[in-house]
Symmetry: C2
Subunit: 154 residues, 2 copies
């Protein structure tokens, strides 16, 4: 008897497949929506949300930790957003290496325009599909998986 079998049971495989398909379709549709009706990428959106929620001015590494990305990803992202005028960089007096990322007026305007539409799509495609209890259950399951992953290597 194997400690861990090579394959999943058919129930496990079916559950995994359903989850993957749902998640892919949902994320795909939402990010295309954001792009289509605001001109921003999903990454622009999330960065601006987090940044403006926290006062619109933040150290680069704090932003990295907040969004839970790799710093190189964020560096490229901030570069593109700077080019588009959504944020600017300011240097940090206390730390010669440091940088502040600051949301511009255009950045605020972009996120304020985009957010209600995005929320509406989230509601329409996701929230409305589920009962209060189901949503609650999904949150619990998600947190459980998150907690489990943190204990695992890699």
């Amino acid at each position: 008897m194997d400690a861990t079998p090579r394959w999943l049971t058919s129930e496990q495989a079916a559950a995994w497949d359903s989850f993957i398909r749902m998640q892919e379709k949902l994320i795909g549709r939402l990010s295309r929506q954001v792009q289509a009706d605001s001109g921003m990428s999903a990454s622009d959106y999330i960065v601006l949300v987090k940044l403006t929620e926290t006062g619109g001015r933040m150290r680069f590494m704090d932003l990295v930790k907040l969004v839970e990305w790799e710093k190189s990803r964020m560096s490229h992202q901030v570069g593109r957003m700077t080019k588009r005028g959504l944020v600017t960089k300011e240097e940090c007096p206390d730390d010669g290496r440091g940088a502040f990322i600051v949301a511009t007026t255009a950045g605020y305007k972009a996120i304020e325009d985009a957010a209600p539409k995005h929320v509406e799509h989230v509601r329409r495609l996701f929230i409305n599909a589920l009962t209060h209890e189901e949503l609650d259950t999904l949150a619990r399951i998600s947190n459980r998986v998150l907690a489990h992953m943190e204990k695992q290597p890699d």
Copy 2:
């Protein structure tokens, strides 16, 4: 009173956030795993799985529908996989426009090597985090969201 409020309730927002974070971390880790221990991208993996599950030879458009991608994405993907020797293209006698995508011997070997490791990571990071009932519930919720999305425009 608004028919649809502008924002989510704090419970809804928290649930959405948990789901998004879980899904991002999980998919991210799994696709980096596949890449790291087989040299294939997650896209290579899924295409080879679907293709070899269906006899290893398939019309391009059937593959597109099976994987549920856009054809242009698949076209690029098949191009890259051809370059790496995982699949080849054969022309179709019945339909002058048509193409068969065929898994090569190297393609079969690649997926046979990669699959057990991938399944092990899925089990380790995801399946093992949940009870049988929780997994079952998640599958039901996923299918419900999928069904709901299909009724929605866009």
